[in-house]
Subunit: 227 residues, 2 copies
Amino acid sequence: MDFKEFKKKIAPSGKDIAREVFFQNQNAMRIKKEKTAINNLNKIFNAVLGITQEKGFQAMSMRDLSQKTDMSLGALYAYFPGKEELLGIIQTQGRSMIKGLLEQFANAREEPFEKLKAVIKAHIFLSESLRPWFFFMFMEARNLKPAELKAVKAMEEHTQKILIDILEQGEKKEIFRPNDHLLTSSMLKAMQQEWYLKRWKYKKHNISVDQYVDHVLTWVEAFCLCP
Amino acid sequence: MDFKEFKKKIAPSGKDIAREVFFQNQNAMRIKKEKTAINNLNKIFNAVLGITQEKGFQAMSMRDLSQKTDMSLGALYAYFPGKEELLGIIQTQGRSMIKGLLEQFANAREEPFEKLKAVIKAHIFLSESLRPWFFFMFMEARNLKPAELKAVKAMEEHTQKILIDILEQGEKKEIFRPNDHLLTSSMLKAMQQEWYLKRWKYKKHNISVDQYVDHVLTWVEAFCLCP
DNA sequence: GTCTATACACAGATAGAC
DNA sequence: GTCTATCTGTGTATAGAC
């Protein structure tokens, strides 16, 4: 599967995400009409992700957000209790979304090497189609309160665990070379992360996601597979 | 060379850095006595890096900084014209420091594979001994004004170019496998970066810099070297 | 060179009309 | 559901005494 196909078939749209947030936080917000809520939440998220990418969440004022969404300050506060909670909502939603989609991919295949490649590819494709979310989640994790920061770290270790399990399974079957799986999976995660942290570089050099994924998988093959 | 030796012989101390900043910006600050300036600049930088690591530069108030340095607000403003300039000073100094030390290493060896390993190791060791600086430079680049942001990107591409040159040299000598050097060097940079962006993970699992470097070099060998 | 006190802008948040 | 007007705290920065 290439990225074009992935995006069409699997990647959630802004409205999909807004819908889920609406049903998850329905009681905490003053808006009751589904359609209005979803439309405006989508607008709010896009604005937050856009402004934040440039100057960071702390530097984004509620007035910035009001201007970008064409909504008044008063209206915004009907959708979330405060700025800090808005940050929390985006982070929490991002995590649950990514977790769900990745697990779906990890369970799809059986043979270790195929499985490993599928999971890595899915992660990079997902980070491409939801790049603003991934970037936000990484860069703004610092501003979370301790309890949520813990959830972020748990998430990092959870996705790493998925990789480690595949590596162990492959080593047992003597398909992969024996190695330190914790470190190996860390390298894989670093390569995945590189794509969304430094996209300006790949854009500048006209490197597509598909090319990037292929290259990463060449590394994986050279390092993991038995000769 | 292991990290212990590197730190002892090569890594600059906080005062070394403060001294350089003092001579570089001497005319822009109101303090004239060298010793006072260096001591306080060192204190200021440590405080900024510490506070920023937790909550980001924007979220650090001048009052936070005043408290952590045990200096008054008025005193702080004798060392730099404003908060934004302080950010610029740290970023600029960080860049010039890292650039100088890395070039020193790149020129030390001749044989491509040895050279490649030496440069990668030096970068990771350097990021370990100056971890707060590296972290700050990465995370706070967004808050720079356009001209300085350009310098950051130029720096990224400069350090990448060092790697690309070595890879090309090695390919010509038929030591390295032919490959896309831009992508390959990006993977190397991603692995280097991982160390200082996720150090909490390695600390938690008791993985030392030396172990980390060894693992990275195993990947390099598996991928770059001709079989 | 360092302090205290203060100016003044702008942040997040809410009240109450529509 | 959305708006405008406004409250109150906190931010950066400076003035002027010591």
